[in-house]
Symmetry: C2
Subunit: 339 residues, 2 copies
């Protein structure tokens, strides 16, 4: 309850040094207030909105909600890098679309790839190895690949305010799940270190795997070139039911792919919290919504407006976007006054 | 660490009243000793077998491991009861196999049902409603159905020694998962109350579900008449990878359907614990193994013997089988001396 007490103090105007502010990167305003108000209500034992600890389930989309997703989903960059890395073992790709376009490597290739092309590329590059080997491939890529705009590892581009929110919720008895259209096995290798979210709380899209005994007698799980489940749109409540088995009381997304997750969350009884991140800051991050090919926010935005769900305005509501900004500016959670 | 300290005291011969014995229903002997020895080793911070808390994953089969499964899997009894309950709404079942046989109701019907028949019955009786409605159907059945031999609710037939083991492991930082061939949504409604295992730690077989918006605007998850995944045999390590994302360090089963789960567990690095429940007590429970049509234990038994995995002999190793025996005999965890 330390986080809650700190938040209550910050609201009541008590000196900030009494307790560390749990959300130092969130600017003062309605977004920040509504989060703290909700958490305070559902954790107040004698309040009418109290929620028992086992029902404090929070679900978060990943791409565009917990980290950036521009100019293209980071897992797509990974998949295209894998096509190039594996090309020598696949001479047939030189004459076969969509691989030949990727290998030709002109800058416009992404714009020309269809959904079906991307699926084929993901299936080809995310299979043919054990799950343990794939984990090492992901970790090696994360350690070496650099985002072109920031020249930093992709895992540097997580959102500092959301890291604080995850920790604040967990400090108040919530369990925080990722429910993402991204691949489970692309996220799990680094999600615990970066987000504090263990593998069994990472839900996502998946490919089929098969158990087999290798020639040397070792049991293995092998990744097959076949998509098993797409955890997007109506798939999100389906996956929440399958993996979590309980309806969230808080859900956070950023695009139309999160609409059904938020609807499913909203339809439960008692206190509920539905929120969307609106990307409004072209200077520090990106600005996009209704017409974006990545993270399109259109119908879900209209529904949020109509139903009074929180829409976070990144430019207005977030004092810091990325963790590395804190180091540059010298702003530090413990050092800001008033929260 | 209370459970661990208590166990250590019990072993060292200190008075049992100093600490409650964590496994009072386990008789003195090698089975009990090997469990306590393993837990002590992996939780001793300075020992060579220490396992960090986040890696303390334990997986348990359900039917025949955590509760009884004779004379037929309890979920099959449930499904047949549902056929009878739904018959009035399905006049076509009177002339259609396998439903007509079930409705004719002679005692030998079960022996004549094939795997395919059972699948058809499960699909027909576990679909056509929302997941919330199905949960209520399961809970109502659990509250009213009685096991023919004991004339008690099926949830009375959980194994007291395994309840103690689950609690002992959790008291030592383990997370305890069910990984069962039974249906996820058949187990989840009562697993938390009975086993202390929350819905997101229940892994099992599943049917497909679909998200839809009902006529009144309410979002619903509807159960479809299509099996999605069978969590048995090689499916168990596949499901462990999909749901948990980490290899267990302890796995407990009772039949050949658990063999691959135990192999997968055994193949990890560091300290490992693999165990099978052998049903050897026809008087208090049932006795069956190599030739049983339910819970056949044959190949996995041979492998356990060969590799030195624990085989629990129910008759020898368990002082109490069911929780209700304690009440009858007056034996109570805190009241037994010496553990
Ligand atoms: Ca997103
Ligand atoms: Ca079993």
């Amino acid at each position: 309850m330390a986080g809650l007490s700190g938040a209550a103090l910050a609201i009541s105007g008590a000196p900030a040094f009494a307790r560390a502010d749990p959300l130092p990167s969130w600017n003062q305003g309605a977004a920040r207030q509504s989060i703290i108000g909700f958490v305070t209500r559902v954790t107040s034992p004698h309040g009418t909105d109290f929620v028992p600890i086992e029902q404090r389930i929070a679900t978060f989309d990943n791409d565009g909600t917990l980290w950036s997703e521009q100019p293209v989903y980071f897992q797509v960059v990974f998949a295209l890098d894998r096509v190039r890395a594996l090309a020598a073992q696949h001479p047939e790709w030189t004459d076969r679309q969509p691989f030949s376009s990727v290998l030709a490597g002109d800058g416009s290739v992404l714009a020309r790839l269809s959904e079906k092309d991307l699926l084929e590329i993901v299936e080809a590059t995310h299979s043919g190895m054990t799950v343990a080997q794939f984990e090492n491939i992901v970790l090696a890529w994360m350690a070496t690949a650099r985002h072109p705009r920031f020249n930093r590892p992709y895992t540097d581009l997580v959102f500092q305010p959301m890291l604080e929110l995850l920790a604040y919720l967990r400090g108040n008895g919530f369990r925080t799940f990722i429910v993402s259209g991204g691949g489970i096995e692309f996220m799990r290798p680094w999600a615990e270190k970066r987000y504090g979210i263990p593998p069994d709380q990472v839900v996502g899209s998946s490919g089929e795997t098969a158990f087999r005994i290798a020639a040397d007698g070792t049991p293995e799980l092998v990744k097959l070139p076949k998509v098993e489940f797409i955890d997007d749109g109506p798939g999100k409540p389906v996956a929440i039911n399958r993996f979590i088995g309980r309806r969230p009381i808080l859900a956070f997304g950023n695009s139309d792919g999160d609409q059904q997750m938020l609807e499913w969350t909203a339809a439960g009884g008692g206190a509920r919290f539905m929120a969307l991140v609106h990307h409004t800051d072209a200077r520090r991050e990106w600005a996009y919504d209704r017409t974006s090919s990545v993270g399109k926010l259109d119908k879900a935005w209209d529904e949020a407006t109509r139903r009074g769900w929180l829409v976070v305005d990144m430019k207005r509501d977030w004092g810091v976007i990325y963790p590395f900004e804190k180091q540059v500016t010298g702003r530090h959670p413990a050092g800001r006054d008033g929260g």
